[in-house]
Each structure stands twice: as structure tokens, then as C-alpha cells.
Amino acid sequence: MGRIIFIQNIIGGLETGSLYALAALGVVLIYRVSDVTNFAQGEMAMFSTFVTFTVWTYSRAAGYSYPYLIAFFSALIFSAVFGYLIERVFIRPTTESSLLGKMIVTFGLILIVNGSASAIFGTDSHYLQRAVGGTIIISNLVIRPHSFFVIFLALVIMGVLFYMIKYTMFGVAIRATAQDRETARLMGVNTIKVTAFTWIMATIMGAMAGLMIAPATNVSTGMMADVHLKSFIAAVLGGFTSFVGPVIGGLIIGVMDNLVGYYISTNWQTVIVYGILILILIFKPYGLFGTRPQKKV
């Protein structure tokens, strides 16, 4: 029995872990390309999830045949538009700010997005269904197909992203911009387009993470607080200087989170995971896969 519970925890960990990975990858992508640490990623994901929820409720009430599917695709479309708008309205005008200023802009965004969400959608908490319902039982092992769907979805999104970054011309432009924005621009890379695209991509990834976590947390203005913090921890653990790092960091945090939650304490789960992160950072100050940026004096 003990082993089965352990396996179940691992699967659960990989499920939430892949969501942390998605969200973390979004944060790192934006950070690398535009030097902005998007602390509003979680709130933006929450907002997208609320929109999805609204579409879902409306479609069900209207009696459409596949309400979840409609909601899912509207989430994709909405988050793409939303990401672009945020970049266009708030981020692009402040590219001339200092690094600290850019970071603070995203703190302002937290307030704006959170405030707007409670103004538009209210502060209640709502149920949202799983992407795939039901459970499968294999000799005492209870598995939700939803878990596999989540892991699968995360893998697909990350697969598409990594393929693009690695093998397409646009990917080269992204990497060049991440490496050195000014040089990339001089080489003819449209860095403005690249930045807008990364915001769109990252917002979609955040929205997917929100949509997939919603069945567990319910849809509410505070729903992303935990995922958001964990995804940042994952990014730090993996290192902000690598694209693979945050993915592995996310999975590690997800599994650790579940194990700590089950075997030690649910209340202190976040605190303990955070403590472990600090311990790791003492020995690996730039994360597991990060490298120390070379000082230029």
C-alpha cells in the first residue's frame, strides 16, 4: 500500500510539476528576451482562467455540444490577445526604464490585473471541470486520466516551443535577442516582434497552467498565488539562464511538493519547499543549471 501511495504521489507531483514548469518557462522566456521579470504572470493566468470559465458556463447554459472544448480554444485565443495587449500597452512603453523599473511595472500589473478581475468577475470562487473526467484503477492504484492529459499537454506545448527555438528562423531570432538585444537588432532581427511573441507565448503557457490547475484550486482571484510562487521557485531552482532548467526545476518542485504535502504537512508544504530551495541556493547560487553571468568591469 505504501508503495502505491508513493507512486500516486509521484504521478500527482509530475502533474502539478509540469504546470509549474509551463509557468516557469513562460517567466524565463520573457526574462531572457526582454529583461523583464514578470511577477504578474500568475495574475494574468488567473484572468485568462476566469475568461475561460465564463465561456464554459455560457456555452453550457446555451446548450452547445462541447462546452469545454469551446472554452479551451477560447482560452488559447484570449490569452494570446491578452499577452499581446499587456506587452503593447504596459511593457513596450517602459523599455527605457531601469531593470528595477521594469520589475516594478509588473508589480503594478499585479494590482491592475487582480483589481480588474475582481471588478469584472467578482471575488467568489467557482468550480471548473477537469479536461478529462473519471478515474482508472489498476490494482489499488487510482489514476486520473486528467493527470496524463495535463502532462501530455505540457509536453506538447514545451515541445512546440523548443522545436521552434531550436530549428526555426524565428527561434534563431529569439535566441539572438536573448543573447544580446542590441546586437540582434543591428543584425536585422525584429526584436519588437520577438518580444511581443514571447509575451504571447508566455501568456498562453500561463493560461494553460491556470486552466489545468483550476479543477484543484477552483476559479478565484487568489487561485494562482501558490502556483505562481512555486513556478518562480522552479525557475530559480533550474536557473534563469537556461530554458531546460526551469522545466526540470518545475518537475522537481512538483514532486517534492506532493511528497512533503503527503508525508510531512500540507499546511507547511510551501514553507518547507521554499526552505529546501534556499538551502540549494546557498550551494548553487545560480540554480541547478544556471551559470554565473560573467562580470564585465
Binding site: 526574462y31 531593470l99 494590482l111 475582481s118 534556499i278
Partner: protein
């Protein structure tokens, strides 16, 4: 002009003393004739203790260029310590106030020893976790905080005089604020304060001039947690109730918003920022259309932060100070340009 120059040079904080004196006079008149409603008095009380809080956070973000998203935890600790000491120990107000600053400061130093080895981005995330942890502890450590039931306490007493009247209490904390302002002013215009700002502007140059980054980052952390702890203590006395939900990341964001909106590395800016964040919810609640929108003040504060960064990188107060007050009051003599802005060229 000559006279003004001379006055400013020999009494650099005359500006603050005059403003406080006028404010105090108004309070005295009010005490006699009751002009303000008790609601206004409570609002002013909040501006004052949030002002002290913002001064503390500005020490960290504005003067030293370090970030923290966990300072709400230090403030909460200050508030709980005050509640605990005044309910269980019955100590003297000044001792409680001091301890409520010193203990968070000690904790800040211990945590800083670990956290300050990190760079800004990592520090932000680490302190964010710290803030979440702090709030968690306030919720769970019932023996000390009584969890979600919260703790009640009484207004302070000095030499047998109880400050039960909110007007008296406001005068008391205004005096404390003035004291804090003078100390901050002295601090910022001296060797240690300059070392902090030097570190903010160029880590390389300050190191090569003998400024130990670690020592001064730790000092900035210690000083700001002391201030914020004191502000927490005054919060507890003012509201007479301490509850864990107050000390979340939202409060840390409020601190940040105050100093950014008011003005980084500026005393007046800290106070204007505090005023802004206290008054905006009031004004929106009193405005017909806006009042119906939930959390409108969040949206306005967020917008203000971003607009300030874009259009007034020195903050509201400092922009006004540079454009209007200083040219008139100080002529050529003031130390005009010591404020931090948020433009690109100021990156180290």
C-alpha cells in the same frame, strides 16, 4: 533669498520641522474646536504609521537599491510583539516600541545573512517566499498570535497618561514620525547613507572604494526592518487589533508602491506615497461610479505605479520638489540631485 539659503544650510531639516509644526498646530486647534471627523483623524493616523513604514522601505529600495517582497512579515512581527508585550508584560510604551523594532531587525539580519548573497532577481523571489512563510507562521503559531481570532490590545500609556483619545494618539505618533524623519535625514547625509547609495549606483566602484557590499546590504536590511517593525508596533496601537490577514504579500506590494509613487530615496516622497495609498481607497469610495467597482483602488494604484515609472521616474513628490519647491526655497544651495530615478542610464 540669502536668508532662506542661510536658514536651510544651518538647519537642514527645517522644512520637515516647519511642516510638522504647522500640522501639530492644526491638530491642537482641532483638539479645541473639533474640526475633523473621527474618520479623518483615523485616516491621518494611518498616513503617519504607513509613512514610517514607507521611510523604512525606502531605506532599502530607494537609498540602497535592494528589493524585498517580504517586509510585511517584519511589520507583522512588530505588531504581534507589541500586542504580546502590552497584554502580557505590561511594559512601558517606549520599551515596547523599541523592542518591536529591534527584534524584527535581529531577524532581518539573520535572514539577510543568507539572502543577501543573491542577486536582485533572486533576492526578490527569495524574499517573496519569506513573506509567504511569515504570514503562514502568523496564522499557525496560535500561542503567540492567536491565529485567525486575532489579538486585541489597548492604546499606549506614557507616565500615566493614556492615549485613548485618537487625537492625542495622532499627536504622539506625529512626534515619533518627526523623530524618525530627522534620524533618516541624518543617516542619508552621512558616511553610511552615502555608502548605501554608492552601492546602489555602482557596485563595482563602491567596492573598489572600500565599501563592503555585504556589510551595507545587511545594514540596509537591518535598518529597514527596524523601521518597519516600529511601524508595525504603531499599527497595533492604532488599530488596537492584529490579524494575520494584514501581513500578506499585498502589504509588501503596498510598501513598494508607496516609495515608487512618492519618490525613491526621498523622505517627502515616502510620506506622499503613504498618503497616496491611504487616500486613494477613500477617494474612490467617495466617487459615484468608481465606488461601485470592487478593488478599484488596486487598479488605480497599479496604474499610478506604471505611469510614474514612465512619466515621472523620480516619483510624484520629488518631481514637484525639483520643479517647484527647490528652485524657490533653496535657490542654488541645496543638494539638488540626490534622488534615484528609474531610467535606464541609472542601472549599475
Amino acid at each position: 533669498m540669502m536668508f532662506q539659503d542661510k536658514l536651510i544650510n544651518s538647519h537642514p531639516y527645517i522644512k520637515y520641522i516647519i511642516v510638522t509644526a504647522v500640522f501639530f498646530l492644526v491638530l491642537l486647534i482641532d483638539l479645541q474646536f473639533i474640526i475633523f471627523t473621527s474618520r479623518t483623524i483615523n485616516l491621518l493616523i494611518r498616513v503617519v504609521y504607513f509613512g514610517i513604514m514607507a521611510l523604512g522601505f525606502n531605506m532599502l529600495l530607494g537609498y540602497a537599491g535592494q528589493i524585498s517582497l517580504g517586509h510585511a512579515a517584519y511589520m507583522g512581527l512588530g505588531a504581534y510583539l507589541t500586542a504580546y508585550f502590552s497584554n502580557h508584560m505590561g511594559w512601558n510604551f517606549m520599551i515596547i516600541l523599541l523592542l518591536s523594532g529591534l527584534i524584527p531587525m535581529a531577524l532581518g539580519i539573520i535572514l539577510g545573512l543568507v539572502a543577501l548573497r543573491m542577486e536582485r532577481l533572486y533576492l526578490a523571489i527569495a524574499t517573496l517566499g519569506l513573506g509567504v512563510t511569515g504570514q503562514m507562521i502568523f496564522q499557525e503559531w496560535r500561542a503567540f498570535t492567536r491565529g485567525f481570532s486575532g489579538i486585541r490590545l489597548e492604546r499606549p500609556e506614557i507616565l500615566g497618561f493614556a492615549f485613548n483619545n485618537s487625537r492625542h494618539f495622532l499627536m504622539l505618533i506625529t512626534v515619533i514620525l518627526l523623530l524618525v524623519i530627522i534620524l533618516t535625514y541624518n543617516f542619508s547625509r552621512s558616511r553610511t547613507g552615502r555608502a548605501l547609495s554608492a552601492m546602489r549606483d555602482s557596485e563595482y566602484a563602491s567596492q573598489s572604494l572600500g565599501i563592503s557590499l555585504f556589510k551595507y546590504k545587511l545594514l540596509a536590511f537591518a535598518a529597514s526592518s527596524f523601521y518597519v517593525g516600529i511601524a508595525g508596533s504603531l499599527y497595533a496601537y492604532a488599530e488596537r487589533y492584529v490579524h494575520p490577514s494584514t501581513w500578506g504579500v499585498e502589504l509588501s506590494l503596498d510598501m513598494l508602491a508607496m516609495v515608487v509613487i512618492g519618490g525613491l530615496a526621498s523622505i517627502g516622497g515616502s510620506l506622499v506615497g503613504a498618503g497616496f495609498l491611504v487616500l486613494v481607497p477613500r477617494l474612490t469610495a467617495a466617487t459615484p461610479v468608481l465606488a461601485d467597482i470592487t478593488n478599484m483602488n488596486y487598479i488605480l494604484t497599479g496604474l499610478a505605479m506604471i505611469l510614474v515609472i514612465k512619466y515621472m521616474p523620480y516619483g510624484i513628490y520629488t518631481t514637484i520638489d525639483l520643479k517647484l519647491i527647490q528652485p524657490y526655497l533653496m535657490g542654488r544651495s541645496g543638494e539638488n540631485f540626490r534622488y534615484q530615478d528609474l531610467k535606464k542610464e541609472s542601472d549599475s
